[in-house]
């Protein structure tokens, strides 16, 4: 329908241009006009944040544009999340505990990954930045997490990721561990024995799907 095309394209633009108020308003309108939260996420929010990510990769967008796009998406998600939860419990692909490691205050990349995971059907518990390994372990046990994600933006804080992997194993948790952050390479992830590594928020979703799928199959 032309009306809904226009609505979703407006919401897509609101995300892309970092218009928080517009994004929240159009998300509300989408629900009011009878669209499901999931459809709204898939037709407008994900394409919008994906395009913002592409523009960043291409050098058109800088950090402020990328972050305001993520904030607009978050504002729309705040409207959709409660409905999404009610729409289908079975939708949850898995429970994820995510944080930036202790000693590291970098919040942006981790929040983007959290938002994308949540938009793609994961139940996400975002513990914030500067989080000690012990708290991640505690929370993962408490919610019986499928996946624990740890971001580190400094070579001085990356060793905390290694401690996390070891702590998850020695606590006997079933959760897989995914690591990320600008200086984090696949080689590092392999060296420390992490189950997965993602170098951007989109690939994080794919890696998370695979990791959780593996667990279900195994």
């Amino acid at each position: 329908m032309a009306d809904s095309d226009e609505l979703f394209s407006g919401l897509y633009q609101a995300v892309l241009s970092g218009d928080e108020d517009g994004a929240a308003r159009l998300a509300t309108r989408a629900l009011d006009s009878g669209h499901s939260a999931l459809e709204t996420i898939e037709r407008a929010l994900i394409p919008g944040i994906r395009e913002a990510g592409d523009l960043w990769e291409e050098g058109e967008y800088f950090l402020p544009e990328l972050v305001t796009a993520a904030q607009a998406m978050k504002a729309a998600m705040a409207v959709l999340q409660p409905v999404l939860g009610a729409e289908a419990k079975s939708l949850s692909l898995g429970r994820v505990v995510i944080a930036t490691v202790e000693g590291d205050i970098h919040d942006i990349g981790k929040s983007l990954v959290a938002t994308m995971l949540s938009a793609n059907g994961f139940e996400v518990i975002d513990e914030g930045a500067g989080v000690p390994v012990s708290r991640l372990i505690e929370r993962a046990r408490e919610v019986d997490a499928d996946l624990v994600c740890a971001s580190a933006l400094l070579t001085t804080t990356m060793p905390r990721q290694r401690e996390l992997v070891n702590a998850v194993r020695s606590a006997g948790l079933r959760a897989k561990v995914m690591v990320g952050g600008a200086p984090v390479t696949r080689g590092w992830a392999e060296q420390i024995g992490a189950d997965g590594h993602a170098d951007n928020a989109l690939s994080a979703v794919n890696v998370a799907r695979t990791l959780v799928g593996h667990r279900a199959a195994g």
Partner: protein, 296 residues
């Protein structure tokens, strides 16, 4: 040192800066996640030894270990209320190490606070933090103020304004990376216009520091030097840091770094040194390469 003194010193030839300090302290045993500035009080001898090695390698300016010694970062590290003491200790250690052979720069890094839209900090907050640090540095007898590795022009300008008010010469550098349309900070500030703004705000010399390798910085120097009125400073990393189970590794060959730095000077850079991962060996090779390039 007044701005005019620095400018007239630069007339007579390139000025050799020092190299990485934090990475050297980590190599000397500074624990991961501990602020290097804490060693100004705990292990002043180790800090002095690193400075001295740079002086002996030919650094004419050494940066005191005060990069993160601003109130917000100190309190994040559990050292709140210690701004004055840590900056004063940093300057006096560097002064001892210099033994009159080199100038001592008070080093001013980013506060770690983010302005909107990334964070909620205000320019006034940043300015107050810079004022507090800079006045501690001046009181302790810094010869000049060196603002380094800024990535938000607004924060860099706040630091320059605070530093300019001291009357000392001010060196101000930012961290740029290559993007599709040229060199930018991660916030989107373009290389040449950002450096011009710093100089208009009162920086005596402006430049690029950290993050990139010397070959990438050579491209920046070639682009910026001809377009700037202010002297250009260059301080590349020793490559991109890579963490292995054995520790952080920087891959660049010091002799390649040295010849790149000499090429930057040939392209118009007037102050040359290194950032993370560079060592006294890098500086001494670079100085030899630069001297060879500028001697008739």
């Amino acid at each position: 040192m007044r701005p005019a003194d620095l400018l007239s010193r630069l007339q007579s030839g390139p000025l050799i800066l020092d190299g990485g300090l934090g990475s050297m302290l980590i190599a000397a045993g500074l624990a991961a996640g501990r602020p290097p500035e804490s060693w100004n009080l705990e292990h002043p001898g180790q800090v002095e030894a690193v400075h001295r090695a740079y002086v002996e390698a030919g650094s004419e300016v050494i940066h005191a270990s005060t990069f993160g010694a601003n109130p917000p970062r100190l309190s994040a590290a559990g050292l709140s209320g210690m701004c004055r003491e840590i900056n004063a200790a940093g300057i006096s250690i560097a002064r001892r190490a210099s033994r009159g052979d080199s100038l001592v720069a008070g080093d001013v890094g980013p506060t770690g606070l983010l302005l909107p839209p990334l964070g909620k900090a205000t320019i006034e907050e940043l300015r107050a933090s810079f004022d507090e640090q800079v006045s501690a540095l001046v009181e302790a007898g810094a010869d000049l103020i060196s603002i380094e590795t800024m990535s938000d022009l607004r924060e860099a300008l706040a630091a320059v304004e605070a530093a300019r008010a001291t009357g000392l010469a001010v060196l101000a550098s930012m961290t740029f990376e290559a993007r599709k349309r040229g060199f930018f900070t991660i916030m989107g500030d373009p290389l040449v216009s950002a450096l011009r703004r710093l100089s208009e705000a009162g920086a005596t010399a402006v430049g690029c520091s950290c993050s990139v390798t010397s070959s990438q910085m050579l491209a920046m120097a070639k682009e910026a030097a001809p377009l700037l009125d202010a002297p250009l400073a260059v301080q590349p990393n020793a490559g991109k840091p890579r963490l292995t189970l054995e520790g952080v590794v920087y891959d660049q060959d010091p002799s390649v770094f040295a010849s790149d730095l000499a090429a930057m000077v040939a392209s118009g850079a007037r102050l040359a040194g290194g950032c993370c991962g560079t060592t006294p060996e890098f500086i001494s090779l670079a100085k030899a390469a630069i001297n060879q390039a500028v001697s008739p």
